[in-house]
Symmetry: C2
DNA sequence: CCCAATAATATGAAAATTCATATAAAGGCG
DNA sequence: CGCCTTTATATGAATTTTCATATTATTGGG
């Protein structure tokens, strides 16, 4: 036994509080991959944007911000920086002059492809720490939860 | 169908990437409760500290920072502010003069008790959006994952 | 006992993030 | 068509957060 109890002990409140567990697992598990992304020259928000653009190339700022889990004004600045680095480009939407659409550059796409591959490998390592049953269940459960949350806040 | 696909669609990369799902669910689900904590006058990191102190009253700064999922220097400043507001107190550890132990004040304890009660209610609402089987599984899975992650980074 | 090495906390300065709001484009309606 | 409302993005200023490091205390070895 160690005197400094860890939250996973599930004694007390936080160790069995769903939102704590989600935040802690997300934080700790992501930290492993974020260290990898850093070595590729990306900070966390930049990696998120890149990953989201893989799926939603040409998304407008507001939509990309929601996907990337960050605020609009923050995304605007991050897109600026990434555009300056040549990872992506911005174009006005020809159908709606207010919108700015964000596209991966060739370089950005290549980097994203490389990192998403690494991310899948890392994910496999994490899932390997679970029993096969739990590993098979966790993503569907989270997807269900996310769908429920999005319908609450559309 | 909507043109602006949501990540829960699980088409593409992020919608089925474990670390994205964890971050997204954590973010969205927590936002609901964080809005509640705000009304009680607490910012997110303050609520986290309060919740952790419920379980670990008298923890030292470094340990509390780990539990609260934040960096030591940030926690130091947050503890300052919360102490100034009378939510907690700091005392030097009599056995080790380097350490600062953090204790809830009476007011802090009362606030923490109230909010953890609310948090449990809110958690129940979230779990109610899942099937009973999934609801029963999610916390044990996350606890297992967290334990695995902590053994990797002790 | 002294010294070097380690550990815990605090702090200054830089960087990132938020918040409120300005700016600009569309949309709806009299 | 002109006007008022809504939507999308950008930006200034304040706040928060990080990073590196200073300070103070403890520990272990010689």
């Amino acid at each position: 036994m160690d005197g400094q109890q860890h939250p996973a002990d599930q004694t007390g409140f936080v160790g069995s509080y769903l939102l704590y567990l989600l935040a802690a697992v997300s934080e700790r598990a992501s930290a492993e991959f974020h260290a990898h992304a850093r070595k590729a020259g990306l900070r966390v928000p930049e990696w998120r944007v890149l990953a989201c653009l893989c799926d939603s190339d040409g998304a407008m700022i507001t939509h990309l911000a929601q996907l990337s889990l960050m605020e609009q004004s923050r995304l605007t600045r991050i897109v600026d920086q990434m555009a300056a680095r040549g990872l992506l480009t911005r174009r006005a939407d020809p159908r709606d002059g207010r919108r700015v659409l964000v596209y991966l550059s060739q370089e950005g796409r290549a980097l994203a492809a490389r990192l998403t591959r690494d991310a899948r490998d890392h994910e496999a390592q994490i899932l390997a720490r679970l029993t096969p049953e739990d590993a098979a269940r966790i993503k569907p459960i989270l997807q269900g939860l996310l769908a429920g949350l999005e319908e609450a806040t559309p």
